[in-house]
Structures are given as structure tokens and as C-alpha cells.
Subunit: 172 residues, 2 copies
């Protein structure tokens, strides 16, 4: 249900087409709320049907540019302030940990080492990204920076945890 609001949020700053939004999902939002093309186009149609956005301009190649309506902005604000974020997350990585007992200790350690390596790589990438961006004082920068910081802390935590976990697996 958040996809709807993610689209509204992206349309706050400037109108955009489904194609534009698709790219936004593939880049900046990819690590937070991935979405496919079919989902985005479908949701945009529904959003327009419900009057939360409108087609403000038609471009070449059938391009339809959507603009947020007042109703849409109000709905976005309502979502942010009146509803609780859903905190039920699924972690495939962690789920597997519960069942590592069916493998040999060596295999279990390999798995954890793999996760540590993956987290380390992600951390390095995010750090580089952070350094590469020229952060301003505007809203987008402030909140983008906060989100990126989350990613970095999360990756660091995962790496440390996986490395620690590896040492906990003894040859029984």
C-alpha cells in the first residue's frame, strides 16, 4: 500500500511521467521500496482515477505527465502523520540463520562470511556515494542524507554482526 504514497511523494517536487518515476524507483528508491514497471503504470492509473493526481501534459511517444493534486498532497500528509508505518519486515538472510543447524559448521561459517562480505561491499558503496554527493541545506538534501546515513549504519551493523556470528559457530 506504500507504493501509492511513494508515487505521490515523488510527484511533490515536480510533475513526472511513469517513465520518469520508474527511473526514480530504479535508482534512489531501489533500496527502500523496489517496484516494477507494471506496478507503477497500474498504480498511476488508479491514482488518476481517484483524483490524487492528474495528467497535466501529454508529450511525444504517448508520454503522460502527471501532477499531484491538492487532494493527493493532503493524502500524502495524512499518510505521514496519521498512519503508523508498518514494521513487519521479512529478512531472508536472517531466516536462514535459524536453519543453519542442518548444515555443517563449516558451511554455516561460510554463509555468515558471505553475508559479512556482502554487507562490507554495500557499506563501501554507500560511503562512496555519500562522499560523491554535494549535499545542500534544502529539504531533499537533508532527508536524502538521513536516509543514506541509515543505509550506512545498517550495512555496518550487518557486517559486524555477521563477523561476530561467525566466531560463535564452533565445531561441535
Amino acid at each position: 500500500m506504500s507504493l501509492r504514497h511513494a508515487l505521490l511523494g515523488l510527484l511533490v517536487d515536480h510533475p513526472a511521467s511513469g517513465y520518469d518515476l520508474l527511473k526514480a524507483f530504479d535508482t534512489s528508491l531501489a533500496n527502500v521500496w523496489p517496484a516494477t514497471q507494471s506496478q507503477i503504470y497500474g498504480e498511476l492509473t488508479k491514482l488518476a482515477d481517484n483524483g490524487l493526481i492528474v495528467v497535466s501534459e501529454q508529450g511525444p511517444r504517448g508520454r503522460k505527465e502527471y501532477t499531484l493534486t491538492d487532494t493527493g498532497l493532503a493524502e500524502l500528509r495524512r499518510w505521514l502523520t496519521q498512519t503508523e508505518p508498518q514494521r513487519t519486515t521479512r529478512s531472508d538472510v536472517l531466516l536462514r540463520v535459524f536453519f543453519l543447524g542442518v548444515l555443517t559448521p563449516q558451511q554455516a561459517r561460510d554463509y555468515l562470511a558471505g553475508q559479512a562480505a556482502h554487507a562490507a561491499e554495500l557499506h563501501a558503496n554507500l560511503k562512496a556515494l555519500d562522499a560523491a554527493i554535494d549535499w545542500d541545506d534544502d529539504n531533499l538534501s537533508v532527508y536524502g542524507r538521513i536516509a543514506l546515513e541509515y543505509g550506512q549504519r545498517f550495512a555496518a551493523m550487518q557486517q559486524e554482526w555477521a563477523e561476530w556470528a561467525r566466531t560463535q559457530v564452533r565445531n561441535t
Copy 2:
């Protein structure tokens, strides 16, 4: 699909009915891979159709106890060693951060403060749970402990991040 393998994993130690498994999902696995009753019963039927589990005993009240087959155990091992965990997670909490700019700085800080409080509460609960459990040296204990440690570190990280983030939001 991970639900399938979660069920196989739970059946490794001992046979269980859908009802038993439902309770397992509601308690220990709730924070890692939540699942509803409809999903579990449906998946068990499919698993049995495919020979990964078998009905080993019929009890009172239509109770069907499932046991893992050799094929099922092999599939679980294959999943753990041959397939990569899916790392695409969705975070509603973080998604909202991207759009806090449409609120007033005060509202944004309130949101972050709420997340910090929530994480603090979760951390305290997990810490208490950790202290309450009498950890052994067996596999279940080792990997259960590792998973719980993840939860604690994650909660702590979220709390620290949210508190830090709150200080980043200035009155512009």
C-alpha cells in the same frame, strides 16, 4: 519462495501440525518471517503434494501431523547452500523519511522521535528476552542466540539513527 523453506526448517527437529507451525510463526519467527494461517495451511498442502513432507499421523479434531521427507531435507540444504538470500527489503519507516519535507520541521522531528521510542522499546524487550532464556550449547541455542543478537543490534542501530536524525532537522 521462503515460506516454503521456513516450514521445512521448522519440521527438521520434529513432526508438527499446521496448528503447531502457525504458533511457531506467531512467536519465534514473527519478527523474521510473518505468515498467516491461510498461507501456512495452503503451503503445507502443496509441500505434501510435492513429496517434501508427508502426513505421518492423524490426530483428534482432524489434526494432521507432517514429517519432513529426505527429499524435503535435501531441498532445505539446497536452498541454504545453493541459492542466494534475497536482499530486497522494503522499509516503510525509511520510505517515509524521504517525504518528511512536506511536513513542518516539528512534525518531522516528532516522527523521528516516535521511531526512536519504538526502537528503544523493541531493544528493551529483546534484551529482556535474551536474559530470560537459558542458552545451551546445542544448535538451536547457538543459532537462536545469533538471530536474537541481530535483532538487538538492529534495534539499537535504529534508535541511535533516529535520535541522530532528529538533530539534523532544523527549522528552516
